[in-house]
Symmetry: C2
Subunit: 615 residues, 2 copies
């Protein structure tokens, strides 16, 4: 007897082959709505077949017509119409399915005011041909679109043409036509289809985030994220590039496949949540640093790691998703916004879009803190970017008790007479220190005179938490009994040195940009997962930036992801991004004498001081 497993409950039931999926669901105690009583009329019992669909016969004409009319995909079936002929894994409809879409708590704190949609839906009625009007299907469709909406010269690729004859002969010729950028028909849907959706991908070296958005309203529908599975080939960009160089025929393909599979899995997750399938998404935007961009497209990344660090391509690209193995709709595109340089990627461009820096009057500095620090300084008149190798300290790397900004990471340290007070992510028992925790600790030690501006511990202060460890003096943050790791969590002199190197890189980069442009920023925007948790006061105390107290420091969260979402839904932003990337200047820090001078000065834990250097 076939076995049916219902998700997400994972309830399993065996049932005779003549039973329907609706019978099976009832047998398993899964509530499935069926207001028409199993007559294939209401469509409320629609389910998503997760596994085993190849064993089912094709849907009958009534079922197929209903599935099509409702805009469901090829993996959907009506539970009342589906005979259980083989083992299946089935996702039963949740609250959202078949009704309105679930809106998660917005992880993207934005909603564009007025959208110029990239994908627009035009509903027309295409007349049937006759012996006196023998115009072909495409011509009749285009004529209808021209007459009703003034659209001209629309193209359609063979995959759309393959759907065309059926699509315009159902529902008496009523059809919803999805047009991209006013130029290409990318999908034909039943006349009553709901607004289209698409996905914005923030492709980070460490984390991949997938935002599902309504392309008409710009509203966020669902979000999912995952570790970038390329991590098995190396944690940082350089080791992944080395892997490609070492395995010239296959390495790049392996890396590309990992990230494509990962995006497809995230797509499956977010679309399932709204009762849809990945094939129903009709547009995607992918932003990332230049190495991630190249690896995603299968472009040779090796020259990114060698001076003069040039990319293969910088311009925005539109690639059919099927060419990349991305499982969105057959003729849909993946849009890749422009990038600026080998180490200033489309994530930085997306960040500029999200923050609106390019239209600000006051000079502003946008920084994405990470292993590679990306900096852009400017305003509506000019923009200059640079990139600086900060090393992994801001991400918790190379730190004795360092960890990523994950639950249990110490993100804030305060010393009081009663002892050390810690805040951890998620309020869990301490498991390590993330980048913002390290900055917080250093700032607090500086404030209390326990750390000196040159970076050496002031152990002569006699503070009881100083002690001698295996590698010299260290400062106890969390004793073994209080934390999750069962050993003392400390900060070592070496950890402080790592932080000094990282902050010097940022400090010097910001200083160079400021000197060259002659702009003194009124505010610094801290972007990236790292930036979100840094206390502006702590940043100021350690002298992260070469600016005085007048300069506001403001964390802005995941600006790249937010920018990707804006670029997904709005074609105005796409044009803006292209213009901006062209107009912006880029200053190469490697080999710059001024940068080297500033770097040395930036090692000091001090606020703004007036330095000068040779350019």
């Amino acid at each position: 007897m076939p076995r049916i497993i219902f998700l997400p409950e994972k309830k399993s039931v065996q049932i005779g082959a003549e039973a329907t999926l609706l019978d099976a669901a009832r047998g398993a105690g899964i509530p499935i709505n069926s207001s028409c009583g199993g007559k294939q009329k209401c469509g409320k019992c629609v389910v998503l077949i997760k596994e085993g669909i190849e064993g089912l016969p094709a849907p009958g004409p009534e079922e197929a017509a209903l599935l099509f009319k409702k805009g469901w995909g090829p993996s959907h079936r009506l539970a009342c119409a589906t005979k259980v002929s083989c083992d299946l894994v089935v996702e039963a409809p949740d609250k959202g399915l078949g009704k309105e879409r679930i809106l998660t708590k917005a992880q993207l704190p934005f909603k564009p005011k007025k959208i110029k949609p990239v994908i627009e839906t035009y509903r027309v009625e295409v007349p049937l041909p006759s012996l006196s009007c023998q115009a072909d299907d495409q011509t009749r469709l285009n004529t209808a679109l021209k007459d009703a909406f003034g659209l001209k010269g629309l193209e359609a690729d063979p995959f759309v043409l393959r759907d065309l004859p059926k699509a315009i002969r159902r529902e008496s010729g009523k059809v919803a036509v999805l047009v991209r950028d006013k130029g290409e028909i990318i999908k034909l849907l039943p006349g009553s289809a709901s607004p289209p959706f698409g996905a914005a991908i923030d492709l980070g070296t460490t984390t991949v985030v997938c935002y599902l958005l309504d392309l008409k309203s710009g509203e966020e529908l669902f979000t999912s994220s995952s570790i970038n599975p390329q991590i098995k080939f190396g944690e940082d960009i350089i080791s992944r590039i080395s892997y490609c160089v070492q395995k010239p025929w296959t390495g790049l393909k392996e890396l590309q496949k990992e990230v494509v599979d990962c995006i497809n899995r995230l797509l499956e997750q977010v679309t399932t949540k709204i009762g849809a399938s990945p094939g129903e998404a009709v547009e995607m935007v992918v932003v990332g640093n230049t190495a991630m961009h190249h690896l995603f497209l299968g472009l040779d990344p090796q020259h990114l790691s060698l001076a003069p660090y040039v990319p293969v391509v910088s311009d925005a690209l539109n690639v059919k998703a099927r060419e990349l193995g991305i499982n969105i709709s057959g003729s849909a595109y993946v849009h890749l916004p422009p990038l600026k340089a080998g180490f200033l990627g489309s994530d930085a461009i997306a960040g500029l879009i999200a923050t609106g820096l390019y239209r600000m009057k006051s000079p502003t500095l946008l920084i994405d803190l990470g292993t590679n620090g990306e900096l852009v300084l400017g305003n509506r008149d000019k923009l200059m970017g640079c990139s600086t190798a900060a090393g992994p300290a801001f991400e918790g790397g190379h730190i004795t008790w360092g960890m990523r900004a994950a639950p249990g990471a110490i993100e804030r340290v305060r010393l009081e007479s009663s002892g050390v007070t810690l805040e951890t992510i998620g309020g869990r028992k301490p498991a390590g220190i993330c980048g913002s925790g390290l900055i917080s600790a250093a700032a607090e030690l500086l404030r209390l005179g326990l750390l000196l501006p040159k970076g050496n511990f002031n152990d002569s202060s006699g503070h009881p938490n100083f002690r001698k460890g295996a590698e010299g003096i260290e400062f106890l943050i969390s004793p073994a009994p209080d934390n999750a790791v069962g050993r003392d969590i400390v900060i070592t002199q070496k950890d402080i040195s790592e932080l000094q190197m990282a902050k010097a890189a940022i400090w010097a980069g910001a200083k160079v940009l400021s000197e060259i442009t002659g702009l003194s920023p009124r505010r610094v925007l801290l972007a990236g997962a790292g930036g979100r948790f840094i206390d502006p006061e702590d940043a100021r105390t350690i002298g992260l930036f070469p600016f005085d107290e007048q300069t506001e420091i403001r964390p802005v969260g995941n600006a790249a992801g937010r920018g990707a979402a804006l670029l997904l839904v709005d074609r105005g932003y796409r044009k803006r991004a292209m213009k901006m990337a062209k107009k912006m200047d880029y200053f190469e820090l490697s080999g710059s004498r001024a940068f080297q001078d500033f770097f040395v000065q930036g090692m000091f834990f001090t606020g703004a001081t007036d330095y000068s250097a040779d350019f």
Copy 2:
């Protein structure tokens, strides 16, 4: 021990795994040139690995560099450098390989005077990047192309971008850039690469012909043809469409795969002949009737067989070859010229291009005789087409001893006092009668009064070849002892009726076009394999056309193939074809009262008479 088979000789040799392919060739007595003495310097020992390449390691750097420099493909190896580590099938270099290309005796009797090439080769030198000029690879390439040739805004798809970093870093940046239609870079080759080539395909219901052409000179390099393997799904279009309708999920895919595989096989044949591989071809044109066009593209053909017979699409299309499974170069296109109607395909448009009818001053009628007769009447001022179901008689179908125009087919019949004189294709012993032979026989019988204008045999004439057969009176053409089939070859009264139906369809179609346009053609051009062998005098005698003796009848051979070749090499012709297809009128004969009247009149075996009919 591995076994090596050398083609085309099919010589087989076994040899130890440390030996090279050059050793193996010598062992098998295959002469392979190697003027550098096996030092991987001269490249003369290049071979094409037909099978087993997956078992060979990648070429070493010296070998790879030489293969790349000479412009050879991924299936080529140097015999001197290739260790025999597994079973292989190898094509040894023939006279043409590695030298100049073999020019076959031209099967396309044309050579365009002045070409506006679709694919142009631009040779540039791309500077290496530096810290002071960090422009990306694509920008530096585009700048070089703009500076040297004024080319602007060139695009390149990700497949070209994947080759870009390597291509512009070899040969000190010297690269040959293949640009399509002045808009898109489709391939990067070494600076010294020879002119590009491409393939024109005449995709007939029965026969597929592949012409390989030099895209710079327009010269024909090689030709190959094959039976259309779709024939296993039915000899005619209608039965193939029925197959798609009966198997809605897979039928169309099966038919598409057959024809794609067939084209790939032909490509392999023609490119091997010039010592190249299919992946080196950089453009393809496919012409055919509308059903073949749709089946090739995977477009649902079912509405072509139902009134009002509308195609899915008529406009010219450019589709990346890889999207169709065609094995030409990764980013190359297949161009599909426009078509006019469900039964007036791009083959007819190609025929107009080849004959130049659209720029003639005198009214001219172009006819492609086949199961479906395609007719276009006009001149430089106007054009009107129609299509008429002639049935299979012109292709030897439904005829007692009918056969295709293949070796052994009777194509000319003369009655003399001494008896019947026959001419057969290839001068072989008679095996049957093809369309032109049937026309020739009918004409001769009419001239001698043995066949009457109404279509009945004049057996009262007492000619000794008349006799009573199983289905009434028949006329002996070739007695059993004289022919290849060992039975008497005859023409029956039924055969004559079939011919009458076929000719009436053509006669009536031509008459309708002439009446509607008010044009009386000065010449009739007979195209298609059928048309090539028809004797104009015979055509006149049976009254194939409703025109008087002033109208010249001229066979023009395979106009569709010739047109496809012109459309392959010249972008001017492509524009012309698109304009023409739009401008041309089409008259639908089905349901036309005038056509029905003329059809009845056209059954008579008489020359031009002045008839009239209601429109």
